[in-house]
Subunit: 309 residues, 2 copies
Amino acid sequence: MTAGQSAATAAPAAFDSLNAALKRAAATVDATLDEVLPRPEGLHARVPEAMRYAIFAGGKRLRPFLTLQSAALFGAPEAQAARVAAAIEALHTYSLVHDDLPCMDDDDLRRGRPTAHKAFDEATAVLAGDALLTLAFGILADPKTHPSAEVRMRLVARLAEAGGSAGMIGGQMIDMLAPERDYGEAEVILLQALKTGALFEFACEAGAILAEAGEADQARLRAFAKGFGLAFQIADDIIDATGTAEEAGKAVGKDQDQGKATLISLYGLDKARTEAARLAGEAADALSPYGQAADDLRALPFFLLDRPS
Amino acid sequence: MTAGQSAATAAPAAFDSLNAALKRAAATVDATLDEVLPRPEGLHARVPEAMRYAIFAGGKRLRPFLTLQSAALFGAPEAQAARVAAAIEALHTYSLVHDDLPCMDDDDLRRGRPTAHKAFDEATAVLAGDALLTLAFGILADPKTHPSAEVRMRLVARLAEAGGSAGMIGGQMIDMLAPERDYGEAEVILLQALKTGALFEFACEAGAILAEAGEADQARLRAFAKGFGLAFQIADDIIDATGTAEEAGKAVGKDQDQGKATLISLYGLDKARTEAARLAGEAADALSPYGQAADDLRALPFFLLDRPS
């Protein structure tokens, strides 16, 4: 299957099914998040308030979707998968809250609303981010997530790795240093692989871990995530380079303003689109052993690339 | 045993033994920290550099001491205890790095050196703190920490609780809100119980968990930690109220300048000292079943109260 064929076959009907699956996944993880997030009460109610403000912001819940889909592929119970998805979304949300801070990307707008430090204040945003990060591990460690402590441990260990200094945090550090450095293609790909790719990879792999699927299955899900992650990033960069703030729900054109290299600035828009379609095809191919059961997963990168921009 | 007797019997000889035990604990945990902390290399070397800068700052390693002592009391292997102690110290250090930020306590000096955001920059300090927090869970989840996944899970769950929004982070939030609120004794005690007490409690309990000691032992260690934690806080407040910046290694008099209530401002210095000695006695009493094996632990609160101030 080539990228062109994949893109052609992943047309409207596939997108309708995917759209419905995305909505279901978002509703499922939101219900679980409401259950596991602390309720605002007592003298420190402000932290739970800010945690809930940041996490219930109408995000697309792509990572929860990936986890729920991969869990379904291997037959893990949805209630377990929803808890892992909630942990991953909590970790993802903390990273957004901290990345938006004035000392980091200094963003006032996120998903069309004031960022957490604007709606509350910087101290509360730092603490709410810290609390979301801590909660992510607490959710995974809870026996409700899986009866086997070995499985829960593997999830905790992999989340710590994906989110840590050699994963997501390392990617954000490389990104922060970008304006003073002259990154080429290899550096930009590494940056994205760490900053967003590492957590996508864990989100995809988590369903297989939860179902105690074999290493071959875990590796296939990771391979899907690798292609998907870069395709996602190119789609996101296209919006940043060509979209409006209204479409994006956040400030756009910042990478260019700050002189940061992206795959768009390195490749040009046309080559970037072609490359993204190729990566989406590669990702789809990694899931071929799963047949139609993986159709929604396979369609996701094409769907993201198809967004108006 | 009354508080007065405890204080009297905990005189010079006990302090010599304690001093030696503190030094040994610090050396042990420092060696383990050096092993588990990432090495600065690659494009994101700056985060590991800042993590190491913040953690190797000549701290007293009180929490690691508590964990190593409680592990020894119940016969857990020191190598395992050192890893748990390293995780707790990583979490404690992240909280210092974030609390020192301009948007939080805005401190330039910590242990006589520039704080992390002064030595590096704010973005790096936020990320290094995030990475230390993430690493703490990664260390605990690693099979090297304990062969039983059940034990490791319990450690992860308890650390997430102690460090979370209803624990340490909640305490810092209450503290940040202090200048605009009029806290009385109950609020100040709750603030301290969360901000520093929760992690002390886990540090003490962790050795018992690691050794798979019974609930009665875990409860005794928590009772010790409760008395110890408040006595520690009063000792710290006394230094803030009466010491010099040189003695404290950080700015002093800040609580008073910011109009924050402390146990000193509520009780007065004399009553605060008496109360701290009483709490230290209560803490010591909780360990009476362990006889001489707990002598160094028992001496610690008296030792901290005995510091020049």
